[in-house]
Structure formats: structure tokens, C-alpha cells
């Protein structure tokens, strides 16, 4: 009896098929490469833009921040804000790009089979590549202004991974939803904008805690974004963290819950994507 290996039926998978995703790892890489490559095609200075764009971003926000809060020392403030902005740029871009990724790649989706999660994963990869360049710039600026960072810097990758998990969990859910309801593309920019103002990116955490009523404080601190940004700033500057560590764990738990729900939702509807897109 011949062993029939692949089975096609209407039942949806219950969770990710990791082996299948690994089989398509080259596709993940090539899709990411495509997105990076086409961005700099037919430009005069080419890949230099990859450095100039984040540099301008950092300079604008860093300089404006100095005019807003004069309490901290200038260079401190500059680096703090820059660190927040750099990580926030990755998170917001990732959420936005991942949410739109399935629709943007619908031409492939309706013509070939592959594990659909490859597409949002490749969007995340692209954001990570961009972030890496910004991170190097940030590190150079930090060394230039404040000298070598302490050992806390070794924690930075952990917070970056945390940030990726969070953006992926949010983006993945909307990516699946976007296939049925294109309203998502209008909702995401609004959410991202709100996110910018409710997180201590531009203004310090103390500023928020001062203004907030006491009973809202725990809710504010449970926001994974607040913990990610604060943690990343800490790893860069080494100033003791204001957020109690318990919130860090709790928010991480929330993120994993989000991720679980998103993946379940995505996998459940994976087989119907091509019908709706």
C-alpha cells in the first residue's frame, strides 16, 4: 500500500505547523529580501537611505525633546527620547506593515500554496532589518554623548524580542481581519497614533504618572508598550527603572495571551483567505 502523505480537507488546523513553516524558510527570506531590495531600486544614493532615514528621525525627535523638558541634562534627554523613538518606529511600522501584508500580497496568496504566516513573518523581518540599522546609529550616538553603555545594554535584545512579539501579535490579528474588512487599514494608523501618546516615548514616565489619577496607574503600567519602551530605555541608559518588575512580567503574560489568540485566529481562517481576499 502506497503511503498517501498529504491530505486536503475542509478542517482547519488547530495551531501552527512549525515543520511546514521551516520547509518554506527560503521563501520567508526571499520575500523579506524583495521588500528591502525594491525600496532602494532606482534611487541615486541607494542603500544610504537606510541610514539617512532613521538618522533624520532620531535627530528631529531628539532635538525637539530638548525644548520640551529641560529638567534632565540635555544629552541624557536626547538619548532617552531617541531610544524610545527608534523602538517605537519599529513597533508602529511592524504593526502597520504586518496588518497590511496579507492584502498587499494577495496576488501570491491566490496563486500558490504556502503557509500563509510566512507573509506577516517576512514583514516583521523587514522591520527588524530596518531596526538593526537604527540601533547601530543609536549606539554610536550614545557612545559619542555619554560614553560606553553599562552591562544593561545586554538586556536590549530581550526588549527588542519583546517588542517584536507584541507587534506581531497585534499585527497578525489585524492582518487576518483585514482580508475580510478593509476598514483595518484606516483603523491601524489611528491606533498607532494613540499608542504614541499613551506611551512614554517623548515625555518621561514620571510625567505620565504625575498627571494620572492614582487608581488608573496599574492599568497604565500593565500596557506592554510602556514596559517595552521603559525597559529598552533602561538598557540603554542604565538609570534604575521606575516600573515595578511585577508589571513587566504581567504585561509579558498579556502579550503572550494576545499572541496565542492572534495565531489561533489566523490559523483558523488561514484556509479561507484566498476565498475572501
Amino acid at each position: 500500500m502506497l503511503c498517501l502523505k498529504t491530505i486536503i480537507d475542509s478542517r482547519s488546523a488547530s495551531f501552527l505547523d512549525i515543520k511546514e513553516i521551516l520547509r518554506f524558510k527560503d521563501l520567508l527570506w526571499n520575500l523579506s529580501k524583495r521588500d528591502v531590495l525594491i525600496r532602494y531600486k532606482q534611487t541615486f544614493i541607494g542603500v544610504l537611505w537606510a541610514v539617512i532615514r532613521p538618522l533624520i528621525n532620531i535627530l528631529i525627535f531628539g532635538l525637539i525633546a530638548q525644548f520640551i523638558e529641560r529638567s534632565a541634562s540635555l544629552s541624557d534627554k536626547f538619548i532617552t527620547v531617541s531610544a524610545g523613538v527608534v523602538l517605537w518606529t519599529m513597533i508602529s511600522t511592524a504593526i502597520n506593515d504586518i496588518s497590511n501584508s496579507m492584502v498587499a500580497n494577495s496576488n501570491i496568496l491566490t496563486k500558490v500554496y504556502f503557509p500563509k504566516i510566512i507573509i506577516p513573518l517576512s514583514s516583521l523581518t523587514v522591520c527588524l532589518i530596518d531596526f538593526f540599522i537604527s540601533f547601530i546609529i543609536l549606539l554610536v550616538l550614545r557612545i559619542f554623548y555619554l560614553g560606553l553603555p553599562g552591562f544593561e545594554i545586554l538586556l536590549a535584545p530581550l526588549f527588542v524580542i519583546y517588542a517584536m512579539l507584541f507587534s506581531f501579535s497585534i499585527g497578525l490579528f489585524f492582518a487576518a481581519l483585514n482580508i475580510k474588512f478593509r476598514d483595518v487599514k484606516f483603523v491601524i494608523p489611528v491606533l498607532v497614533q494613540i499608542g504614541f501618546y499613551v506611551c512614554p516615548i517623548f515625555l518621561s514616565l514620571e510625567f505620565y504618572l504625575d498627571k494620572l489619577p492614582e487608581n488608573l496607574e496599574p492599568i497604565f503600567l500593565l500596557n506592554p508598550l510602556v514596559n517595552i519602551i521603559e525597559g529598552f530605555k533602561y538598557s540603554f541608559l542604565g538609570e534604575p527603572m521606575t516600573v515595578p518588575i511585577i508589571y513587566m512580567y504581567a504585561s509579558l503574560g498579556i502579550t503572550f495571551l494576545f499572541l496565542f489568540i492572534s495565531v489561533r485566529y489566523f490559523v483558523k481562517f488561514e484556509k479561507t483567505f484566498a476565498d475572501f481576499v
Binding site: M1, L2, C3, L4, K5, T6, I7, I8, D9, S10, S12, F24, D26, L27, W29, N30, L31, K33, R34, L37, I38, K41, Q42, N107, I108, L109, T110, K111, V112, Y113, F114, F181, K271, T272, A274, D275
Partner: protein, 414 residues
């Protein structure tokens, strides 16, 4: 008989038809709101179910080259999409063994800004090849595509021929156990099509299994040893010898062509004016069933007009042989000029002094235009038989059984 390589059991696919057409002003939110309120009071299903495929069961043996035949909307593409795991079936189950690759279009995921080289890697991995496999076959792919010189040029600067060649080259080097192909041969020039067919024969010669959908009966005849016919989402003629399947399919469409025109509902266009009847009338004004080659004949068309009369009407009758080869088109707005005004009392005549087709069965697609805008289009709206006739007046008849065109001509020697 050995075990099948593909086993398809009772596969069906249904789509929910949202009835949004009448209320196109409504968006989805209002629509679902209305649905919801409606469902509060009654249990009626607001959306209609449409079965694109139903009860499809068949087996494919290893090494078979199977053609899937059917008119538009018969469910061919849906079946291929289910087999290639792009969409999931609503019912049933498919089991297959080995690696499957599907080519539902050439150049899936090609990006105009990327160079030929970059696109080979991208497209290859989209089709399921690993980096290692692409590396190993890279030179072969390039050689097959004949675009060596332009490998580092963005493909948006390619001619369409080069583009298609490169795209097919990648696909042709997939090396799966099962290959699913949909109409890709409809692109490219004749020489390249021949090369593609050759490549596919070569693949099938290696004991690979191929599933092939095409409107081109000649291509199916050429490539496939077995075929099945789909009709309205069901298997109409189960998997069998290709020639038998094609004969069955053609017979079907000729039967369809004989059904009364006014009963046909599968029309496209604005329908301000539409076909109501069509018949053949000989030179004495008598309605006939068939034509003899070389005879004078009239196609007589009756119409149904929504307003009293319609201006500027163009009509085209495109005639196909029973093998699906386009023979000729009769069009008033091309050969002469459109009818200025047409009302329902009018009969429209197309007169041919010497009918130029050899004996055989023919089918015609009918289309009607007002001011160049399609009003009515009926695929295979009319069929007729041509009998042997003395076209040249020489008492001799062109030998051969293939449908072909006869032309008046003179021979001389000087």
C-alpha cells in the same frame, strides 16, 4: 491496477453569494445590520449558497497526464485551486503522494523592479523550491529562458516575450512529482508555446503526473492521455481516454447551440438589445438546417429591443470549428457599418455568396453592440452543420476531414 497517486473523494466547494448587487449603495456594515435585524424576526437565510463544485471523485494513477475540460464556469479552476491547496474544499477529501507544484499563472510574484536573477530566486521560492535547488538549476533555467544577456536588468524593461520565457523557465524546472498547469500556454509566441509543450511532454516522460486545464483542445489532445469533462461543477464525463472526452465535450456544446436562443440566460452585456433568434435561410428564402460548402446562405437574426428602437447596432458572429479553432468572424460594423436603427420588427440579414467552410460541425459565439458597448454576448449561441459541396465548381472536393476554409483562387502558368 496500482494505488492511485491522487485520490479525490466527494470534493465540493460552496460559496456564499451575498446579495449586494441590488443594493450597491449599502456597504458591508449596513448590509450585515440589515441581515441581523432580518434574522431577528425570521430564520430565513439571507445569503444564497452556490456550489462551484459538487461530488467530485476520481483517482489519478502515477504517470498519467490528465486533461480537465469544461466551458467557463464549469469549475475547472476551482478544482485546480483546491488541488493546489490555495482554497480549501467545503466537503470531501483529497489525498496525494509526493511533491506537488502548481502553475496557475506564469511569473507569480514577479516584481518589475527586481532583476531577472533576483526574480528567479523569488519566483522559485514562491513556487516551493529551496535555495539549494534553485542554485543547482540556475544555469539550466537561464539557458531555457534565453535571457542570459539581461539577467541583471529589471524585468520591467523586458519585452513581454522575455518576461514570459523567464517565468516559464523557472516553473519548468520545479521537478515535482505532480504538476498542475492552468492555461499558461495561452501566453507567448507560437514557437515558445511549442517549447513549453515539449518541456511538459519531457516532464511527463519522466513518469511525472500532470494535470492540465486548457481551452485549447489541440493542446490537450497533444499532451494528455486521459481527460475528464466538468459541467456545472460536476463530473460530466468521468476520467477516460482523451479523444473520447473531447468528442463528448464537443457534442455537448453543439446540443447547447441548438437550444433556442431566447431561452438562454447565460448572457453578458447591458441587454438593451438582445438576440431573440437566429436561423439559416437559403437564397430562395427557405429556412434550412445546414449549409453546403459554396452555397449562398443568409444568417437571419431576430432581436428583442428594450426601447422602441436602438441606434447604431453592431453584430458579430464568430464561428469556431468543433475542435475549438476560430475560423472566421462576420461583423457588420467591421465589414460595412453598424445598423442605424433597429426595432423588433426588423430581421437582420448577413448574406454570404459562397459559404467558405468545409464539411463539419461548427459553433458560433454571438455578440451585439450599441455605440461599441457590448449589449449581448452568448457563447456558443448557434451551431450548424456544413455538408460537402462543390465550392470551386470543378466537381472536386478538397480531401481531408479537418475543418478548413475554402477560398476562390486561380492558378496560372507562364
Amino acid at each position: 491496477m496500482s494505488d492511485p497517486i491522487i485520490h479525490i473523494n466527494n470534493v465540493g466547494k460552496s460559496y456564499k453569494l451575498k446579495h449586494l448587487l441590488g443594493t450597491s449603495k449599502d456597504d458591508m456594515f449596513i448590509h450585515s445590520l440589515k441581515n441581523w435585524t432580518k434574522n431577528l424576526f425570521s430564520r430565513s437565510q439571507a445569503d444564497e449558497e452556490f456550489w462551484a463544485l459538487q461530488n467530485i471523485s476520481f483517482d489519478i494513477q502515477k504517470g498519467d497526464r490528465v486533461g480537465i475540460i469544461g466551458r467557463n464556469g464549469a469549475g475547472k479552476s476551482t478544482l485546480l485551486k483546491i488541488l493546489s491547496r490555495i482554497v480549501a474544499p467545503t466537503t470531501g477529501r483529497i489525498e496525494y503522494d509526493g511533491r506537488m507544484a502548481s502553475l496557475l499563472e506564469v511569473g507569480t510574484g514577479f516584481h518589475g523592479d527586481l532583476s531577472g536573477r533576483e526574480n528567479i530566486y523569488l519566483n522559485g521560492s514562491i513556487l516551493g523550491m529551496s535555495r539549494k535547488e534553485i542554485n543547482a538549476r540556475f544555469d539550466e533555467i537561464v539557458a531555457f529562458s534565453e535571457v542570459e544577456k539581461f539577467l541583471d536588468t529589471p524585468v520591467k524593461r523586458y519585452s513581454s516575450g522575455m518576461y514570459v520565457r523567464l517565468a516559464f523557465a523557472v516553473a519548468a524546472h520545479l521537478d515535482p512529482e505532480i504538476l498542475i498547469v492552468d492555461e499558461v500556454l495561452a501566453v507567448g509566441d507560437a514557437a515558445f508555446q511549442k517549447k513549453c509543450l515539449g518541456k511538459m511532454r519531457e516532464i511527463s516522460g519522466q513518469g511525472k503526473t500532470i494535470l492540465f486545464v486548457s481551452h485549447n483542445m489541440a493542446a490537450i489532445q497533444n499532451l494528455c492521455n486521459k481527460s475528464l469533462v466538468l459541467k456545472n461543477g460536476q463530473v460530466d464525463f468521468s476520467i477516460n481516454d482523451t479523444n473520447q472526452a473531447i468528442r463528448h465535450f464537443i457534442k455537448e456544446s453543439i446540443v447547447l447551440g441548438k437550444t433556442q436562443l431566447r431561452k438562454r440566460t447565460d448572457r453578458e452585456g447591458e441587454l438593451q438589445i438582445k438576440f431573440d433568434g437566429i436561423c439559416l435561410v437559403d437564397k430562395n428564402g427557405v429556412e434550412v438546417n445546414g449549409i453546403k460548402s459554396g452555397e449562398e446562405i443568409n444568417f437571419v437574426i431576430e432581436t428583442k429591443v428594450e426601447a422602441k428602437k436602438i441606434n447604431n447596432v453592431g453584430i458579430a458572429i464568430t464561428i469556431y470549428s468543433d475542435e475549438g479553432i476560430e475560423m472566421m468572424t462576420l461583423a457588420n460594423h467591421i465589414a460595412d457599418k453598424p445598423f442605424e436603427t433597429v426595432s423588433e420588427d426588423n430581421k437582420l440579414f448577413c448574406n454570404i455568396k459562397k459559404f467558405p467552410l468545409t464539411k463539419g460541425d461548427y459553433v458560433a459565439n454571438l455578440s451585439m453592440y450599441k455605440d461599441g458597448i457590448l449589449q449581448d454576448y452568448i457563447k456558443e449561441g448557434f451551431s450548424f452543420t456544413v455538408y460537402e459541396g462543390d465550392f470551386y465548381g470543378s466537381g472536386k472536393i478538397l480531401p481531408g476531414h479537418k475543418p478548413s476554409v475554402l477560398i476562390d483562387h486561380q492558378w496560372k502558368i507562364k
